[in-house]
């Protein structure tokens, strides 16, 4: 959703060079170069994954090799074109990708693009929730730790940050499940919604696949509540890791800005301490966080595979895990290539946002 809004500001950049001459290298040029850099990145990853996967042999032998006679296998291989030289296959694969065709799964003959449309929304929703939790946890606690530097709350928060990093998302998920759904019984164990709600959401016209949006469209308070309740534990498990990273980053950066002269100046003008940390010191400290956020979104996507498996949250990661255990490597390759594109585009968007906010970021 944010994606759509954020790409549009390329328009103002057209006018930017006129007033931006003094800054050196125009914003428009930066955005263009950064955009073009997406292609080599994706190309390298896709190539790497393709050749790595072909080193194994071919996907058909890997998935059904044991169950077919050699002649049947040969037939299947020939039909799929896996007996041709690898360079030919590679060229064909690149051609497919250029047309937006990521392949068709072996086990259930689904197009990877269909899988993206069906399950992409769920993953997007989860990553979005995770990011929100991370920001809610990381930014205020990081400010607090910086303000109370080297005193006991700071020490506790630093240990907390190390713990969030040290806890794998599936273990955090397991503990949350034990405490909140098995023992306390206040949160659902897994899934994206109750069966009743899933059915209700399936019936609405043009579902977006993002349950929260669909639920709001039904206007039914109970459905919205159910969807949100299901999201609490997965979002927390996923968001805490990134939250710890944000905490450390905010702490380090705010510590830096708190020592700046303009903060002393503001303090001498009688600006209260709360505003001093929350506004004056925080704002410049946020810029590196936006840059790191791009990286963290990639991490969240990786983490979503684990989170979705833990909580039975049916998104791209859950599907990836299913295809992995079915040894359907065409599907795995397709989903991984797709994620490579998503990561590259996300990083591009984040970099552009960072460039808009911070005039120092230029090539």
């Amino acid at each position: 959703m944010t994606v759509v809004n954020d790409t549009s500001p390329t328009a103002p950049s057209v006018g930017a060079p006129s007033k931006g001459k003094t800054r050196g290298g125009g914003l428009g040029r930066y955005v263009l170069i950064r955009f073009l850099l997406i292609f080599p990145t994706v190309f390298i990853l896709v190539t790497l994954v393709f050749f790595l996967m072909r080193v194994v042999g071919n996907p058909i032998t890997a998935s059904v090799g044991g169950r077919l006679t050699p002649s049947q296998l040969q037939e299947r291989l020939h039909a799929a074109g896996y007996d041709r030289p690898i360079i030919v296959q590679y060229g064909e694969y690149l051609g497919q990708l250029a047309r937006g065709d990521f392949g068709t799964t072996l086990t259930d003959h689904q197009k990877i693009s269909t899988i993206l449309l069906t399950y992409g929304g769920a993953t997007l929703e989860l990553v979005f929730y995770g990011l929100i939790i991370a920001l809610i946890v990381g930014v205020p606690l990081g400010m607090l730790a910086a303000y109370l530097r080297d005193r006991w709350p700071d020490v506790i928060l630093r240990v907390f940050a190390i713990f969030t990093y040290a806890t794998p998302v599936f273990f955090a998920g397991l503990l949350l499940q034990l405490v909140f759904s098995v023992w306390l019984g206040i949160l659902p164990l897994g899934g994206r919604a109750s069966t009743r709600v899933e059915l209700a959401l399936g019936n609405i016209p043009n579902p977006t696949g993002i349950y929260l949006i669909d639920a709001i469209r039904t206007g039914n308070g109970q459905i919205i509540g159910d969807v949100l309740l299901h999201a609490v534990m997965p979002a927390t498990a996923l968001g805490l890791i990134t939250g710890g990273v944000f905490l450390r980053l905010v702490r380090t950066n705010v510590m830096g800005t708190l020592g700046a002269e303009y903060v002393d100046a503001a303090r001498s003008r009688g600006v209260n301490e709360f505003r001093l940390v929350g506004a004056h010191a925080l704002k410049p400290a946020l810029i590196p966080i936006i840059t790191v956020m791009g990286l963290q979104i990639a991490m969240l996507l990786g983490g979503s595979v684990l989170t979705e498996t833990t909580f039975g949250w049916r998104g791209l990661g859950f599907e990836l895990q299913q295809y992995l255990s079915a040894r359907d490597f065409v599907a795995v390759q397709g989903i991984v290539a797709l994620l490579a594109v998503i990561v590259a585009v996300t990083n591009f968007i984040v970099d552009v946002i960072a460039a808009f906010i911070d005039p120092r970021v230029r090539y």
């Binding site: 194994v56 990093y165 794998p168 950066n253 840059t291 790191v292 990639a298 992995l324 490597f329």
Partner: protein, 348 residues
Amino acid sequence: MSATTPEGRAVPLWKRLPVVKQLRRSVGLQRGMLVVGIVICAVFLIAAIFAPLIAPYGFGELSNKFGSFPRQASPDSTFIWGTTVGGYDVFSRVVWGARTAVSVVILAVVISVVIGVVLGLVSGYLGGWLDRVLVVIADAVYAFPSLLLAIVVSIVISGGNSSYIGGILSAAISITVVFVPQYFRVVRAEAVRLKSEAFVESSKVIGTSTSRIMFKHVLRNSTRSLPLILTLNASEAILTLASLGFLGFGIGPTAAAEWGYDLNNALSDAASGIWWTGLFPGLAIVMLVLGVTLVGESLNDLADPRLRTRRRARRKKSVVASTETTAGGSTGTGTTGPGTGTTEEATA
């Protein structure tokens, strides 16, 4: 004691070893963190080395002379941490799991340091088109979710089914692929900086061969920050191994014990309130990562004079925009991501 040692007197070798040196230099809270970290690591190392002596049963043992082990038995005197749904003793598997984790991590870190350092040196010192290509590849790999990459490599190497040695090797190599770019970036940056230093130029003047300059003079000066990344990476390696195991790319229950694999099996137990099958392997992961991270963090703080707490004059520290290395290689290079590779100079 040591504080009074004059500069001129030789310090014994053991006092100059990486961790020992920092331990002697540390003070107060930082020393506490370092000591806790070292103790935790030591406990796991002991568990790994002496697993056959510590664990009451084997990792794949399902019965003894008194008959088969009970399934999902709660912790009692025979099975102090209970048994799993398959009838394995949880305590024994956690202890044996330490051996798997430690072997994979050591292997992964060693391989990635060797490859990363060599590539970084060659790329940074020689430059040219090879350098450009390697940098682009490293950046692309670095920006990609490391777990997905590890999955792909793991498929390639093991095809999913693995023996003990095969499983450990495949896990280690999968993790290596993720880490090589990190060492590569650090060493390359150092090599680029060092190659214009006077001592390199003077070596050239007296006719030292390029390879000798690279692997003797430049290498020695560019590995300063490696121990820090190394410890931070070791903790990430443990997490990656556990994640691979959790997704079913670990080592089968009969080949070795692996915490992530056990946690995956424990998921269904948790739904019925069986906590012991998941809690202990999970805690083992958390504690080991915690221990290694504490050591890494302390080394990082102690290496940076602005973060190091000193014996005297502890009050009145000047506040500086710190360059603290954040946990995990994910943000290891500071505040700018690899996607913005070239913006690093701009924002610095």
